[in-house]
Symmetry: D2
Subunit: 291 residues, 4 copies
């Protein structure tokens, strides 16, 4: 399918007629809407929409780019919306941050290889050398950036390096695939792209370190995993996706850890997929996911 | 909320601009769209839409009725769609068909009582007296209609009686809550309203009688339940909803039966809810469920 | 099946040979083991067992009672275990505590009526009159005990009345079916029987009041329910069972509440069933559930 | 943990005292039972048991081997059971049969690498060259065996080669990881080891080819995967494990296929794990899984 599609995500103050005006604008300019989904927060009176269409001149990247810009202009000025438009022929670029734990690392790369994502892994950044050889077998550039203690000059240097590489590789999103370092508020800001994290518990239960140990100690009957956007408040960012798995009294911490790996992989992969497909809008520390 | 809403379900040949024309029509006449969801079958080129809006004069049932008719006219003539419009202030009426098994019967009535359905149970028809007393404690009229053998005059009489009562009670949908009789093709046609059935297996596995016995004999590790519209082909109608529950080698047929009851209740209730909320479109023996 | 079965729950310090000695004791006295399941906590070195058998003279309640006592003696003295033995022909008696919310109330009573529990509801105690008529339609005695403010004489009187009625009805377990009052530590102690509560969240997330509001505010993608034994620390008791249901950004608090009701019903019912079948052992604020 | 454990799987005609005699035999010879689980088929009067214990001299493979043999002798002669005993220090060897589809292939190998299985992949046999390079990056021998048409001499030769390699590598179990060839009854017999297959549907629904196409055509609301032992009757063997995933009208066949891959991976991995841990007994085309 060589036709370029445009995908717009809109949000802003709700008022009558937005759906009609958006679809009218597209239709009048010869576009064909493939999907349109919207949501209203009835208490906050906020309107959210995801609309995907084939514009006229759908074989010309330049003209599609111009049409996307025209739409953004229209929606901003005339509808008072915040808008983000993406083109289906532009493949988003991912920076994968990893440490030593390999399961999410392999899972993301194998899915990327299998074509499961509308995106490509541009580079891998790690605070350890452990996964270098594996990274190279996938043919993805691997950069080892040791992380110094908080507040040290070393730490500042490594953050500079992380920012530099993400820019160099023109990264659109950072994925923390069980990356065992907290990103500082400053680093998050400087990266200028969304950062997706996977936490190995059903948040808000068992935030912080060693969630499987916490789950074992409390004697819960389900363990979970949560994919969320990273924010300055650790484990407090907007939740994208969650899932759980049943456990019982026989399951040791190491069994919970093993079972949890399957959850972490599928939950993180789903969050990445939705993000790359421009299906997620964030507001008030929550997400609207159009799926 | 005293404002009347209109809900339209459309389906028909896909072509550009339908979304824009539908939302434009509503907007120009002063309506405010609350929800709009659509789907295209990309192979069959069929367009489906559910749109829910507050028309002007939303406090007048008569004017809303007229507006719904005007919309139906527009969508039929100008868009070539099949349309069905319903008004939020009109409460659909259910005929509940039961036999002796009580769990779905109680479940539907308690949910209706709790306000979970946009609908009310108008009457209960049964081929046994078993549940009469319970039915009366819910304050719902109960009619005992014994069913004779197929082809007998008795059977014809009972079908006449079923049709007569459904008309008398102005029924909009029939729910078979573990009703242990097959409805003939002729009866289905004469009822002139949709009929929702609950089958106690994960269809198409274990169609026909005694599905829990079949599941036990095959040694499956999950049992299921399926809500579907009844058609002349038993257990072959369009599937609305399905769910499963994990079982193991320790579970006898009676344990499967007990576990299955919980599935049957929740799956049937969900199907009824979606139907009453005008969320379901049927085509090619499949369903589009806008939820 | 007229044969009486004995069910023993054992726990105590682990050491080699317990399984052999328990099964040997039963076998030598002519008993036939139907089920035996055990568990070791490998860190705490605690042994847990549930064993179910048909003793000789299985048609005599008196002789079975004596055999159960002999087993308890043996396991206590010779194996150093804590033991609890129950007879299959003795039906446990439940006191159901309710307030105004009806769904768990109806669910427990309908399941009891359908024979889903090895137990019977002996009485219903409520701090409101709301469910009296329904209770009476099930043929179960209903007692209205208004609850005064904490520390008041009224409160003391109502606790006295609750204790008195549970004794009068010879209650073996108390089930809080969305009973909207906290049981004081003193009352829990005086009741002298286990108390099962249903909390409408996935504990430890969203303990305390209004969990669906908390879940909505945090933007979680799954809601849950937790059945646990009530302890002096509210929502901190040993967890028996948990389940979750998927939700999304469209679900309002009232929709979460409706969806949650189904979870609360099935989770509470499962916990009651396991408790009545003598499948649960508590230690260190956790449960071992032999199922 | 250097202590050797013995695991016995028993099955045979049920009669009183088996549990006592098995545990007594182990205890008297100084063994310490870690886990014991049993099951009776109440209709067929068959007894099943899995027992895991540390024998005396648990640091000597030879003495443990002898003790296992002694147990097998005892259980066969004195209890009339079919027995299979395995030693925890003996690592089972897997032959992985693959074609071109990579997801189950990678999944099994990464899990093996991560230590998730009590077993090692000894060799990979494929009817295509596609996965050779990947296989070699895992350091596992890869053999390409083209498969001729049924009844041809070529086919006979390839079956001979498959049997020869499985013997040469001393394989204990064959895993068909989306191997796109049917194994003939004769080949299954000659392999002399169990063969585990993953079928990409919720059996018995959608047996045979293209199950995701079948699922799409029927309009089911859940898709599934089934791991089973391969038998001469295709897709009719004893079911080990099953799971499902929710789908809706928007999901195309290719989306079902992508979603299904996650199911196939986890369901197959679980079946392999249970098999390698000696947790599965087969009878009457069903499985008893002690987990």
């Amino acid at each position: 399918m060589s036709k370029i599609r445009l995908i717009a995500l809109l949000s802003g103050p709700d008022r009558p007629g937005i759906v009609a005006r958006v679809s009218g604008w597209i239709f009048e300019r010869g576009g064909n809407i493939l999907h349109a989904d919207q949501h209203q927060d009835p208490e906050e009176h906020i309107f959210f929409q995801r609309v995907e269409w084939v514009p006229t001149n759908s074989d010309s990247p330049e003209k599609c780019e111009a049409e996307g810009n025209a739409f953004a202009d229209f929606a901003t000025r005339e509808l008072g919306m915040k808008v983000q438009v993406s083109r289906s022929d532009v493949v988003p670029r991912i920076a994968l941050f990893v440490s030593k734990i390999p399961h999410c690392f392999h899972d993301v790369l194998l899915r990327a290889q299998a074509g499961e994502f509308h995106g490509e892994v541009a580079c891998i950044l790690s605070n350890h050398e452990t996964l270098r050889k594996s990274a190279e077998s996938y043919g993805i550039p691997f950069h080892h950036i040791p992380i110094g203690p908080r507040g040290s000059e070393e730490r500042e240097n490594s953050e500079n390096e992380q920012v530099r590489l993400c820019r160099e590789y023109q990264v659109d999103v950072v994925v923390l695939a069980r990356y065992m370092q907290v990103l500082s508020a400053e680093l998050l800001q400087r990266l200028e792209v969304p950062v997706i994290n996977i936490h190995h518990s059903f948040l808000p239960a068992f935030a912080g370190g060693k969630p499987y140990h916490q789950a074992y100690a409390r004697g819960v009957k389900l363990i979970g995993a949560t994919a969320h956007y990273a924010t300055a408040d650790l484990d407090e960012g907007p939740i994208i996706h969650q899932d759980v798995s049943r456990v019982n009294h026989r399951d040791s911490v190491s069994e919970l850890t093993r079972r949890g790996r399957d959850l972490e992989k599928t939950v993180l992969a789903q969050a990445i997929r939705w993000h790359l497909d421009s299906r997620i809008l964030v507001y008030h520390n929550k997400t609207v996911v159009f799926h």
